[in-house]
């Protein structure tokens, strides 16, 4: 697990108030929303804000399907890396 993935997992746990959950309990490829971790669209909104704030990046409002990056921790980490590099 990369440091960035770990940081994102901890951000998810903190930002969404997931008690009794540790980073080890979230798989990098585990689906975050709907089934899987069972998060909803309000969590997605909260997480979007938290990610942008923590990493100082912006979710591109021009591009389509930006929320696909929120599918799981691995895709989020890739998204954050790409945005930070940009």
């Amino acid at each position: 697990m990369s440091d960035l993935q770990l940081e994102i997992k901890n951000l998810i746990i903190d930002a969404l108030g997931l008690e009794d959950m540790s980073a080890d309990d979230i798989g990098a490829e585990q689906t975050l929303f709907g089934e899987g971790l069972g998060l909803d669209s309000v969590d997605a909104l909260e997480l979007g804000l938290a990610i942008q704030k923590r990493f100082g990046i912006k979710i591109d409002a021009e591009a389509k399907d930006t929320r696909k990056h929120f599918a799981n921790v691995a895709s989020l980490a890739a998204f954050v890396s790409a945005q930070k590099a940009a």
């Binding site: 930002a15 969404l16 108030g17 997931l18 008690e19 009794d20 069972g38 998060l39 909803d40 669209s41 309000v42 969590d43 997605a44 909104l45 909260e46 979007g48 804000l49 942008q52 912006k58 979710i59 591109d60 409002a61 021009e62 591009a63 389509k64 930006t66 929320r67």
Partner: protein
């Protein structure tokens, strides 16, 4: 575009009338598909249908098709297994895809008002889901009033919504109103700000049917000057925080239009900015003896007065101010959640003897549960750990409610702290949920005999230390036992030297686990500066030792 009453939506094809966007749908196709569906429903002998369709245009087709042949429509709030089972006795068909129902179309016709029957499902305060019947007149009165208030301002704006049409707000604002007014509606709900921007800016004029869940999380990333073309921003489903309204006002140069209402009553009042609420035309308000709002309205059945559980004050000008909820229905991000229903569901589990829920507001709003565990529940906690208990109970609850209502925070007790009058205030539950899990213990009895104290205490089942020690087999750490002995001794024995100087003959003989009842003996030998402690669990010695205490150095 000319206004079409709901009853006339299937009467004549109107080729120039655009109904929906992405993909585009014009009125003749909407009408044709509704009339085909009507024929298919009739051929199948369907009398009552539940519709669960995320595409607003598909829902419109199904709704009008059903009404064309007098099929009663039920709109469930969710598609949970439990919901489907519960409703199964009341419907002939659950329809979440229209592709399978097709037949040669019936002729177009004016809808008969007595044919247009709609039932909404929502959470009732008793815990049972509540079914609310709507007549065509109620719905028609409301969309006509909306058009009179804001139709001119909206013009031909495309209508984009972040909310589902399964609920009264989305159904009226995102579906029926644009249908009648001839404004194109965007089919899918758009829950994310960046998508809302992208889709909006592709339109000519546009307006938003939004909710506080979205409007208070718009972020700092949008092109507000481009978005300020928005004709109007509606917000309903729950209270919009003042700062969110203020922020929209600053960024868009206009106040959002907040709608206050309920599934039962439809719209009650509206406001723009931090002012009192203006009742909709024809809505008559009064207060009962508890200060709760009573509503008579053209959007209610004739002569009916709806008793709400919303406390309010009515000004001399007829406008009103809301003062909070008087019952145990809460709103989590606009979802109406019945706490009694969830509590009953929790108590139906073998591990739980009592349950109370409260709302925690931290970034987002979520529920917390305070539980009294049964003997079996404690057994599982002791042998499999806390997470096993909470995860199992979450899964159990998931069969009864939407994911949003699943508690994210749990406080586990052996019994809930009822007063001697049998009362347990919500404020106490909220305080338990707000506080961190316990790290200390309160003895339930204490006595002194010849300088030796004997205390009885019960190890809290939810002690914070158990989480890491150990996740699957919670055991009271030795260091905590020593710490408790010293803390409790300081409460009971005067003039204990303040400084911890070490330990002697420390023995741990038996594990101490959640819920254990312990006897703790404490004796201070002042001459040697030694605090003797021993924990027993009935006959079994658990641990003992001496804590060396000394005076603080100069």
């Amino acid at each position: 575009m000319t206004w079409l009453p709901i009853t006339d939506l299937l009467l004549k094809a109107q080729p120039e009338r655009q109904v929906a966007l992405e993909p585009v749908l014009h009125h003749p196709e909407l009408r044709e598909r509704a009339l085909r569906l009507a024929a298919a429903l009739q051929a199948r002998g369907v009398q009552r249908v539940a519709l669960y369709l995320e595409d607003a245009a598909e829902l419109a087709i199904a709704l009008l098709g059903a009404w064309r042949v007098g099929v009663q429509v039920l709109l469930p709030a969710d598609a949970q297994t439990q919901t489907r089972q519960r409703l199964s006795a009341q419907i002939d068909l659950w329809l979440d895809d229209l592709s399978e129902l097709d037949a040669e179309p019936l002729p177009g016709a004016r809808l008969l008002p007595e044919h247009c029957r709609l039932t909404l499902c929502t959470s009732g305060s008793s815990g049972e889901p509540k079914l609310i019947d709507k007549s065509l007149a109620q719905l028609a009165n409301e969309v006509e009033a909306l058009e009179r208030l804001w139709g001119q301002n909206l013009g031909q704006a495309s209508i984009l919504g972040s909310v589902a049409c399964q609920h009264i707000y989305g159904l009226l604002f995102r579906l029926l109103w644009p249908l009648c007014a001839g404004r194109p509606l965007y089919r899918r709900a758009v829950p994310f700000p960046e998508d809302l921007q992208r889709i909006s800016l592709d339109q000519g004029d546009f307006a938003w049917i939004a909710s506080p869940a979205l409007l208070k999380r718009m972020g700092d990333n949008l092109d507000w000057s481009a978005l300020s073309r928005v004709k109007q921003v509606f917000s309903s489903g729950g209270a919009l925080p003042g700062e969110a309204a203020e922020s929209l006002h600053e960024r868009l140069g206009q106040w959002p239009t907040e709608i206050y209402g309920s599934s039962e009553t439809g719209g009650i009042g509206w406001r723009q900015g931090d002012t009192a609420w203006q009742p909709f035309p024809g809505v008559e308000l009064s207060l009962d003896e508890t200060g709760a709002l009573r509503i008579a309205s053209p959007y209610l059945p004739a002569g009916h007065i709806e008793q709400s559980a919303d406390a309010a004050e009515i000004g001399t000008d007829g406008r009103f101010v809301l003062r909070g909820r008087l019952d145990r229905i809460v709103k989590l991000e606009e979802k109406r959640i019945s706490l009694p229903m969830l509590e009953q569901a929790l108590m139906s589990h073998d591990w739980v003897t009592d349950a109370r829920l409260g709302v925690i507001q931290e970034g987002r709003a979520f529920l917390g549960a305070v539980l009294a565990l049964s003997t079996n529940g404690v057994h599982v906690l002791r042998n499999q750990g806390r997470r096993s208990v909470t995860e199992t109970l979450r899964r159990h609850l998931a069969e009864h409610c939407e994911a949003i209502a699943l508690p994210r925070r749990w406080r586990l007790l052996l019994e809930l702290p009822y007063s001697s009058q049998g009362k347990l205030a919500q404020s106490q539950i909220d305080a338990l949920l707000a506080a961190p899990r316990p790290t200390r213990v309160e003895p339930f009895s204490r006595e002194e005999l010849d300088g030796e104290w004997l205390l009885q205490l019960q190890v809290p089942v939810d002690l914070a230390h158990f989480t890491g020690h150990f996740p699957q087999t919670p055991v009271l750490p030795g260091v905590v036992q020593v710490d408790w002995a010293q803390q409790l001794a300081r409460q009971l024995i005067a003039h204990l030297p303040p400084r911890f100087a070490g330990m002697e003959v420390l023995k741990f003989q038996q594990l101490v686990r959640p819920g254990d009842t312990l006897q703790l003996s404490l004796r201070f030998d002042a001459e040697r500066g030694k605090l003797y402690f021993a924990y027993r669990n009935g006959e079994a010695a658990c641990s003992s030792g001496r804590i060396l205490l000394e005076q603080a150095h100069g």
